[in-house]
């Protein structure tokens, strides 16, 4: 199978809406070992894109490349280009800090700062020169993250006192407070119970009106439920990328079919 032509075709097939991130022939290595190989894809605006694939196939590595979080891992090397709204985020003159202000991230394990709920949400805007009403911004972010009702009367209490699901929504609120363009989520529900998971999935639906979301998930049903597009990675290569409907019901690639139907291995 010729990866290059397939992914070109896939890019054009999903490019009905404007693309926010364009991944162009990206290869990422830890030391000399490649974790992502020649991946190209485009992430459209105001949609939810899911990245699925077996453990260790490079999902997190690819996701972290989108906001340059791989910079913090020693010995990571990258080839290829990643464009955000047309400009290369790895270009020499680009400050990675600026990239992360536009492209927020929610991690697998909830990681609130050991501070108050208010401080958790307010910190991002305040270090980035936000001049408006900080409390309004906090309230707005918490509302969007569907957490406001639960915490409005205890904003000054420690974020660590929240439940796991609440903590994860707080982390989403914290990311939203930056008013990013894109939100990257790496298995955001894997540490949560089904009820919290459902709440966060509902939340993603609402958020896609305003934000572009990329989510890594192990959970096939979740990918099928929430995403409009799905990318299937295997061994660091992009096997298939397209409308979620199509990927799950009429996969073009046999490996994809085996994986989404659970006959994998």
């Amino acid at each position: 199978m010729n990866t290059q032509t397939t992914s070109d075709a896939q890019i054009s097939s999903v490019a009905q809406s404007r693309s926010v991130l364009d991944v162009i022939d990206v290869t990422i290595r830890y030391g000399t070992k490649p974790a992502i190989q020649n991946v190209s894809l485009s992430i459209p605006q105001h949609r939810i894109t899911a990245i699925i694939g077996p453990s260790g196939c490079g999902k997190s590595t690819l996701l972290r490349a989108f906001n340059r979080m791989n910079d913090f891992i020693p010995n990571v090397g990258m080839e290829g280009r990643i464009l955000y709204l047309g400009s290369d985020i790895y270009a020499r003159e680009v400050d990675p800090v600026e990239v992360r202000r536009r492209i927020g991230m929610v991690f697998q394990k909830p990681n609130p700062f050991p501070k108050s709920i208010l401080q958790n949400v307010a910190w991002g805007p305040s270090i980035n020169g936000f001049t408006g009403n900080l409390e309004d911004r906090v309230e707005q972010s918490l509302r969007r993250a569907a957490l406001w009702e639960e915490v409005s009367d205890r904003l000054h209490e420690s974020a660590l006192a929240l439940s796991g699901g609440q903590q994860q929504r707080l982390c989403i609120a914290r990311a939203l407070a930056m008013e990013p363009d894109v939100i990257l989520m790496d298995e955001p529900c894997s540490a949560l119970d089904p009820v919290s998971t459902a709440r966060i999935e509902d939340l993603m639906f609402e958020l896609k009106e305003r934000y572009t979301i990329v989510i890594v998930t192990h959970n096939m049903q979740q990918a099928a439920r929430v995403s409009s597009l799905t990318a299937f990675l295997e061994n660091g290569s992009l096997v298939e990328y397209g409308e979620t409907d199509q990927v799950f019901t009429r996969p073009r690639n046999q490996r994809t079919e085996e994986y989404v139907t659970g006959r994998f291995g």
């Binding site: 955000y84 709204l85 400009s87 003159e93 680009v94 400050d95 600026e98």
Partner: protein, 304 residues
């Protein structure tokens, strides 16, 4: 590149600020290098002017140290011998006691006992050396004198004992680290063969931890060599080469203190002796530390 979506308003400015902060932090870290260089430069420079008057060979091999008395003689060996005597005496205490304590802590003691003993060792380690000097002078020496009436008021034995007590906590805790670094699987393998705890400890754990344990001994000895106040107070100010621990001697460190307390004019060759002695002291302790750290680093690598 006029309207890149990534060209933030304050980017340039905050980047400069970040670089500035980074640079200041770097300077603070780099200060340690400057400290080392200053020590080396000062000792080298001052010792150089000393060695223009006294031949290096005479200094290192002479057996008479009388720089302040006529006829002056600059053989450093009596000070080295005094130091050596203290180090050997201290090691006789610190090595067996430290190792046995470490074995007890690592192999036998329950978590509760560790919680009591470890802080006690820390307290012992935190007691200032001048206190140990006082203790040697007013408690240990009278005790020795009660047993051996010929004991001098200032003597090597008393100083050795307190220096041994002083470096004991450090020896114990470094040995403890080394023993605990030995993987549990080694012990279990030996137990499975029917070995008793004693055999496991002596035949399996100790050999496996040997290089770490030896490095601890070297570090402890280096500490003992550099120890100053206890030997100044208790060991005396008589540079001489003797094997009798009940007599007064002088160590390198105590000599430096003696000169700096006295009124030897700055700039004279008598005064420069302290730099020559300090340079020797620095060279000895530094090489011991470097060797020990090398050995420890390799030891840790084996079990990680």
């Amino acid at each position: 590149m006029a309207k890149s979506p990534l060209a933030g308003a304050g980017t340039r400015k905050s980047r400069t600020k970040e670089e500035l902060i980074r640079f200041v932090l770097f300077l603070c870290a780099f200060l340690s290098i400057l400290t080392t260089l200053s020590i080396i430069a000062i000792l080298a420079w001052e010792a150089y002017s000393f060695f223009r008057e006294v031949r290096v060979f005479d200094f290192l091999s002479g057996t008479r140290w009388t720089p302040l008395l006529e006829p002056r003689s600059f053989g450093v060996l009596p000070l080295v011998a005094g130091t050596l005597q203290i180090v050997i005496g201290a090691s006789l205490i610190a090595i067996p006691v430290g190792l046995a304590s470490a074995i007890y802590l690592a192999e036998f003691a329950s978590a509760g006992v560790r919680r009591v003993l470890k802080p006690v060792l820390e307290i012992l380690a935190g007691i200032p050396t001048v206190v140990y000097g006082y203790f040697a002078l007013t408690f240990v020496t009278p005790l020795i004198a009660a047993i051996f009436p010929q004991t001098q008021i200032f003597n090597a034995a008393s100083a050795s004992i307190v220096v041994g007590i002083m470096v004991l906590p450090m020896t114990a805790s470094l040995c403890d680290d080394a023993l605990r670094a030995v993987p549990e699987s080694l012990r279990q393998g030996a137990f499975a063969l029917g070995a008793t705890q004693f055999e496991v400890t002596l035949r399996v754990v100790l050999p496996a931890a040997l290089s770490g344990v030896m490095a601890s001994f070297v570090l402890a000895a280096s500490r003992a060599i550099g120890e100053t106040m206890a030997v100044t107070l208790a060991a005396g100010a008589t540079p001489k080469m003797t094997l009798n621990p009940l007599q007064s001697i002088q160590t390198m460190t105590a000599y430096i203190v003696q000169v700096s307390l006295g009124d030897t004019p700055v700039g004279t060759v008598e005064y420069q002796t302290i730099f020559a002695v300090a340079a020797l002291l620095f060279a000895i302790t530094l090489s011991m530390n470097i060797i020990a750290h090398r050995v420890l680093a390799r030891f840790r690598e084996v079990y990680e």
